[in-house]
Symmetry: C2
Subunit: 162 residues, 2 copies
DNA sequence: GGGGGTGTTCAATTTTTTTTGAACATCATC
DNA sequence: GATGATGTTCAAAAAAAATTGAACACCCCC
């Protein structure tokens, strides 16, 4: 790790940048901090480096890294022809955000769409035509919306992928 | 409130739909439930209707309504030439999502951009040119990204606004 | 096959967020 | 200006989420 140069202040700011950033995505701050340390590091790091650097437990570090690897935002690398596994950040943030969209937003959207389908089936159980009309309109509205969201997500990912 | 017709099951599903939906935006489930009840109601409701319907406390209902009004997703209306205030959902979900973008995402983005500005200033304190180059590249990358995000948000809002 | 260094798992703990409830504010009506 | 029906506030309680730490698994190397 690089401790000679005066990069501590910068590292701190980068870490804080990502800590807040992942909060917006509803992830624990430790995950943001881990990503921040890796993003700010010229060399890959080992898990224990993160534990030291951030004063977090091995458990947190392990789980945070797992989450980040699932998103595709961090990967294992070989380094220094040493057999240990090191970790490095994928500098393309689209991995971070794209992974979030893939792992969090899409499943939610899908389950929402399933719920809407079920809703449509139940519509016929309403007798009063006026009331049925009312619910029909509201459910259709959600349908259109959810379709739109489905449409826009890939575009968004494309756009954000530099 | 409409209790005659067999809409309870549908209402339940709509409520659950929004409960999960707002969870994705990191809001308390009570907020989603409140919006759900209003969205599923042909008539405006009073706060105490929500308290009854959802078996939540007045405090929750009041705070949830406040949040939804801040987002612009719910508004007060007059009804039944009665002086009480009633609440109804804005059926355009863009209000809900747009409000979220305005109240949550934008401020975060702005504070992130401020952080980046500060980071750029600190770059000059690094002596080693190679290391400075490294940080410079990473920070610029964040800059580009944050600019992109700023660009895409209004487009997103426009697109989602039917 | 034992030891050192690394990462994982998960029950217990801590921290954070949400919800509650009781005291208070508002205001139309009698 | 008392009453009743509504909404608000906020400290305390409950619930949910994140973090810890200790036991365990893995794996290279001697």
């Amino acid at each position: 790790m690089n401790t000679k140069e005066g990069t501590a202040a910068i590292d701190e700011r980068l870490i804080s940048f990502f800590r807040d950033g992942v909060r917006l995505l509803g992830m624990p701050k430790s995950v943001g901090e881990i990503f921040g340390v890796l993003y700010a590091s010229p060399e890959p790091l080992m898990m224990l480096d993160l534990v030291d650097r951030l004063s977090i437990s091995k458990g947190s570090a392990s789980q945070g890294l797992k989450m980040l690897r699932t998103l595709g935002a961090v990967r294992e690398v070989n380094y220094d022809n040493d057999r240990k596994t090191y970790f490095e950040a994928d500098v393309e943030l689209k991995k971070l955000v794209g992974g979030f969209i893939r792992e969090e937003i899409r499943p939610h959207l899908q389950s929402g769409q399933k719920k809407l389908k079920e809703l449509e089936c139940e519509l016929s159980t309403i007798n009063d035509p006026e009331l049925r009309e009312f619910y029909d309109e509201r459910i259709q509205r959600l349908d259109r919306w959810s379709g739109k969201a489905n449409l826009v997500l890939p575009l968004l990912q494309k756009f954000l992928g530099e």
